[in-house]
């Protein structure tokens, strides 16, 4: 039953490994964007500490957005997407596999690097686990929502900008709860409520986004 799921997951991870420079570029982008902020707002530690959660989250969001176009573009161009749509297993399964592989190769590295970068911005050390946890819960939502946008803008002229326009407004709640969790932890009010809401959002996105994404892929290959 899950043969398509695992086949797609294995293949996408293998491909990510064979073109690992792409993954590293995304990660480097994340690091550079975060490092730009002190040049813009000044290196005053109190100020940096105050904006750290927002900066890290916005940078993670942009890193995710910039790599989203890769999600289906190659498969669309070489005909693999058609074959997947003709699979005898439900499209939701392999869509989930593709999103999971995408998250493992772009979201997870960001989650792993973020605490280190947070130290550059002088974020309180006690908030680092919450930062990692909020990113670990939030970036999959970004990937799931982004997959719908990527599927809709497949093969369009100026698809990248259009994708940003379509999904950035949808990312706002994730940003609010993600950055809010870190801020709440740093200010001592506790991040549980934020994290629970992020978890609920993830559950909702897991249930709905693959359906929308599969429908969008069928429309885009018509």
């Amino acid at each position: 039953m899950l043969s398509t799921f695992f086949a797609v997951l294995r293949r996408d991870l293998l491909l990510a490994w064979r073109s690992r420079s792409d993954v590293l570029v995304t990660l480097a982008f994340f690091v550079i964007v975060v490092c730009l902020f002190p040049f813009g707002v000044g290196a005053e530690p109190n100020q940096l500490r105050a904006i750290a959660p927002g900066v890290l989250w916005v940078a993670a969001l942009l890193a995710c957005l910039l790599s989203l176009h890769r999600l289906f573009a190659q498969d669309y161009a070489d005909g693999t997407l058609e074959q997947l749509l003709l699979s005898s297993e439900p499209a939701v399964l392999w869509v989930l596999a593709k999103v999971l592989a995408f998250w493992l190769t772009t979201g997870l590295p960001v989650v792993a690097v973020a605490p280190g970068l947070a130290l550059l911005l002088d974020l309180e050390q006690g908030a680092l686990p919450v930062l990692a946890l909020s990113l670990a819960l939030g970036t999959p939502i970004l990937a799931l929502l982004g997959a719908v946008g990527a599927a809709l803008t497949l093969g369009l002229r100026g698809g990248g900008m259009l994708l940003a326009l379509l999904i950035l407004p949808l990312f706002v709640p994730v940003l609010i709860f993600g950055a809010g969790a870190v801020e709440a932890e740093a200010s001592g009010t506790g991040a549980l409520a934020h994290l629970l809401l992020l978890g609920g959002g993830l559950a909702g996105a897991l249930a709905l986004a693959p359906l929308a994404c599969a429908a969008a892929l069928r429309i885009s290959t018509d």
Binding site: T4, A7, R11, L15, D78, G79, T80, Q83, L86, S88
Partner: protein, 208 residues
């Protein structure tokens, strides 16, 4: 049994054909003919369910193909224009993925035999990006040897970029599939040595 009723195809804002009707029985080999741009590929995509018909229905065993998509796809093999190869994967990896993606568990050994049979014995471990056009084509076609349980084969220009020997081997495979009760629907611009001359459907007759 495949039935097409009153099918119309809109491409962009141009109506390609309409009123197309067809009935295919097990064992039939159908060649879709017509001049360039008349909608041969579009017809094949409509039959697979990849494209949405402007009007009309396609039925498989009496049931509209969008009714039970998974069941229809289990019996369908479609090889389109694009060979569905990833440049960074070897032919063997590509073939195994193609089978698994379609929902078939196929042994690595059997995949290897299929690739050897289609003439890629020396390219098994090369990345697909170094293959020639004909060789890329063959990787996709190797799936035909592994898909005899799929009743309906829909093939878009399967003979392009193949040499004479490969064409006759492929024609033999298609004839065998039909003899075993399968159905083949294909487009081609060249003559192939089929055991039985194929039935011809001229899409141009339904053009608008």
């Amino acid at each position: 049994m495949l039935e097409i009723e009153d099918l119309a195809c809109l491409k962009g804002d141009r109506l390609l054909f309409r009123g197309l009707a067809l009935r295919m029985m097990p064992g039939e080999l159908l060649r879709v003919a017509g001049p360039n741009g008349v909608g041969k590929t579009s017809l094949l995509r409509l039959v697979t369910g990849l494209a949405l018909a402007e009007a009309g229905v396609v039925r498989w065993h009496g049931l509209g193909i969008d009714r039970d998509r998974e069941a229809f796809h289990r019996e369908l093999l479609y090889l389109g224009h694009a060979p569905a190869l990833h440049d960074l994967l070897t032919p063997l990896e590509n073939l195994r993925f193609a089978c698994a993606a379609a929902g078939d568990e196929v042994d690595e050994e059997i995949c290897m035999q299929a690739l050897v049979r289609i003439g890629l014995a020396n390219q098994l471990d090369l990345p697909a990006r170094v293959l020639s056009q004909g060789q890329r084509r063959r990787v996709g076609l190797a799936r035909l040897f592994l898909s005899s349980q799929r009743r309906l084969w829909v093939l878009d220009e399967p003979f392009t970029a193949l040499d004479v020997a490969a064409v006759s081997d492929l024609a033999q495979t298609l004839s065998d599939h039909c003899a075993a009760g399968g159905m083949v629907m294909l487009t081609t611009h060249q003559d192939a040595p089929f055991a039985v001359p194929p039935r011809v459907l001229d899409v141009g007759a339904y053009a608008c």
